[in-house]
Amino acid sequence: MKLSQDVLLGLFFVVFGVVSVSIAMSYPFGTSGRMGPGYFPVIISSLLVLTGLLVLFRAQLVQPEILPAIRWKPLLLIPGAVVIFGLAVETLGLPLAILLLTILSAATSIKFHIGWKAVAGSLAFAALCSVIFIELLGLPIPMVGSWLRVLGF
């Protein structure tokens, strides 16, 4: 079986559906008159498995499209940078978290090169966002994170 859009999507539906059915089987099913917590999930997940199988079947009928190459760098780095923002926002504070996210995500662009403009721009952006969201809009996000406060900032 050649990898094509439909094959991957079909596999995704089938695998997700099977996992979902098997989890839902452990919930009380109930009857139609008194639906248990498992009733709806089992039906929906089974339909998803069926749909996935149909998508796989359809993939056999048509000429597979060639999958274009994936640029892994942004695909890994951007979500990674978002996760790092999540790790940093409470421990280091919002300004530093923004700075990290800005620079790490910008680094995935083919046009990225580090220079004083990029640094100054991201510093200004981080400062501006912190002022807008924390001072003006009053969102409860720490300006200085818990780790830094331990250090006495």
């Binding site: 999507l9 539906f13 999930p41 996760v83 995500s105 910008a106 969201f133």
Partner: protein, 501 residues
């Protein structure tokens, strides 16, 4: 309360200094982000969501609505000047709008779009004023069977109107329903699909999923094609339509408005259907059908009017039934829930200031857009040409702050990263995520109404066919499904719903 009192209340709510200012800020920011290529209304709303946190409910809702139609206006500007539709419903605008821009008539195309949209917005708002209270009182008589059938209709319409295959859309909707079921089952209290994690007990936050799939996913897709991104913005000349233009666009605007107002109420992808139908109708009845696709002003004015009329009236099912008609409206519901408001028929009687303030602010917002967009079009054109590598890091930051601020939860930020990757995967597999988003919010409602219906009827499913309203809704849904099998409709659908890239 009659309509007149309501409007007075609305005016007094919408014209307080802060509400007026936030309405203005909403349309301004919405347009500014909406003109950025590749950002549709869903991405725009999720990027700008953090700006509405911390505001009082009515102000936040007014600003959100401002962002929503600001982004629609911005999207048509990009469609005309750059031939890049921000969302499926602006695809039609590119057909003739960009041709006009190429012929040096960009300003007149933009003016036609803005005037058409303003007129349609005014009519659409008036329609909400008249129809919403009626529908809300009607909705109070709906039983669970009627609600369930309406939800089915909404889901099926959104699947039929999604580009790509119906089967794929069905799978996406089912996947969305499963995502919606994560968390505590409201009836039995059983924790479903939580994997023992306390973070999942309240369910996945809908806004987090939408931001991940549409916002972050789009960033990932755009970076993939970074080399291919061309920045060619057509120059804007005179903004004033000629007498000939006025003569040619008046009737199409009227017809487009009519189509948009009616189709916008339909659950499903009302906005999209409206602009396509309006364009098709104009092409059919025009004396010069050969000019369509080569810069006919009718082909800009009619779909833009329809688009905006539907964008107003698609608030009706959300405000009166609590059912989102489109993925964007689903996100609006998500944002409302974050604010602690549960949309539904009670909103009109229990929070009249909220409802009427919103309606009036919609009209004020449209007026602002008319006066804002035409003079500022030079600025928007500059904004379009800001290179993407400056924009996307900022987009990521706004989304991360927004998602974090919903519950002050870092877990949500991680979830957004995960759904960003998933959104990228779906796009690459040719699966449109719109049905998923709609299903995620409609799925749990469907389960609840199904459970109530079957509880009342002791497990007898025939009630769905004995209630006339429920039967009628299901028949419409079935016809829609059948229509896709017909080769003629199939062809129209494929032509209409070409991939939006």
């Amino acid at each position: 309360m009659d309509i007149f009192d309501g409007l007075l209340l609305g005016f007094s709510t919408a014209t307080t200094l802060s509400n007026f200012a936030y309405c203005f800020a909403g349309v301004l920011l919405g347009t500014a982000v909406g003109v950025l290529p590749g950002l549709g209304p869903i991405a725009t709303i999720s990027i700008l969501l953090p700006f509405t946190f911390g505001l009082p409910v009515d102000t936040a809702l007014i600003m959100l609505a401002g962002i929503f139609y600001g982004s629609q206006y911005g999207g048509s500007t990009t469609a005309i000047l750059m031939n890049l539709p921000g969302e499926a419903s602006s695809v039609v605008t590119t057909l003739d709008g960009h041709q006009m821009a190429k012929q040096g008539k960009a300003g007149r195309a933009l003016a036609a779009a803005a005037i058409g949209s303003f007129f349609a917005g005014t009519v659409g708002t008036l329609f909400i004023v008249i129809a919403a209270p009626l529908l809300a009182s009607l909705a109070l008589t709906f039983g669970p069977a009627e609600y369930f059938s309406l939800i089915m209709l909404g889901l099926i319409t959104s699947m039929v109107l999604t580009s790509g295959s119906l089967l794929t859309a069905f799978g996406m909707a089912l996947f969305g329903i499963i995502l919606g079921m994560i968390g505590t089952d409201i009836n039995t209290g059983a924790a479903r699909y939580t994997f023992g994690s306390p973070y999942l007990l309240d369910g996945l936050d809908f806004v987090v999923v939408a931001t991940g799939i549409f916002g972050l996913g789009d960033v990932l897709i755009n970076l993939e094609n970074e080399r291919l991104r061309v920045v060619g913005v057509a120059p804007v000349s005179s903004l004033f339509p000629t007498a000939e233009d006025w003569r040619r666009m008046t009737a199409p605007i009227l017809r487009g408005t009519g189509i948009g107002v009616l189709l916008g109420v339909l659950p499903g992808a009302g906005v999209l259907l409206a602009s396509f139908s309006a364009y098709a109708l104009e092409k059919k009845i025009s004396k010069r059908p050969e000019e369509f696709g080569k810069g006919a002003i009718e082909g800009v004015a009619a779909p833009e009017a329809a688009n905006n009329a539907a964008a107003q009236t698609c608030f009706i099912p959300m405000l009166t039934l609590g059912l989102p008609g489109t993925a964007t409206m689903a996100l609006m519901i998500g944002a409302l829930v974050v604010q602690g408001v549960q949309p539904g028929p009670e909103i009109l009687s229990q929070q009249p200031a909220l409802f009427w303030g919103l309606v009036v602010s919609m009209w004020i917002g449209n007026l602002m857009l008319l006066f804002l967009n035409l003079p500022l079009v030079g600025m928007w054109a500059k904004l379009i040409s800001v290179p993407y590598h400056f924009l996307f890091p900022m987009i990521c930051v706004f989304m991360a702050i927004g998602v974090y601020s919903i519950n002050n939860s870092v877990f949500d930020v991680y979830m957004m990263a995960l759904f960003g990757v998933l959104g990228y995967f779906f796009k690459r597999m040719g699966a449109e995520p719109a049905p998923l988003i709609l299903a995620m919010i409609l799925g749990p409602m469907a389960e609840e109404y199904l459970r109530r219906t079957l509880l009342i009827s002791h497990g007898d499913a025939s009630v769905f066919f004995t209630s006339p309203l429920s039967l009628g809704t299901l028949v419409v849904a079935a016809l829609l499904l059948l229509s896709i099998v017909s080769p003629r409709f199939r062809k129209v659908r494929e032509e209409g719903l070409q991939e939006v890239d």
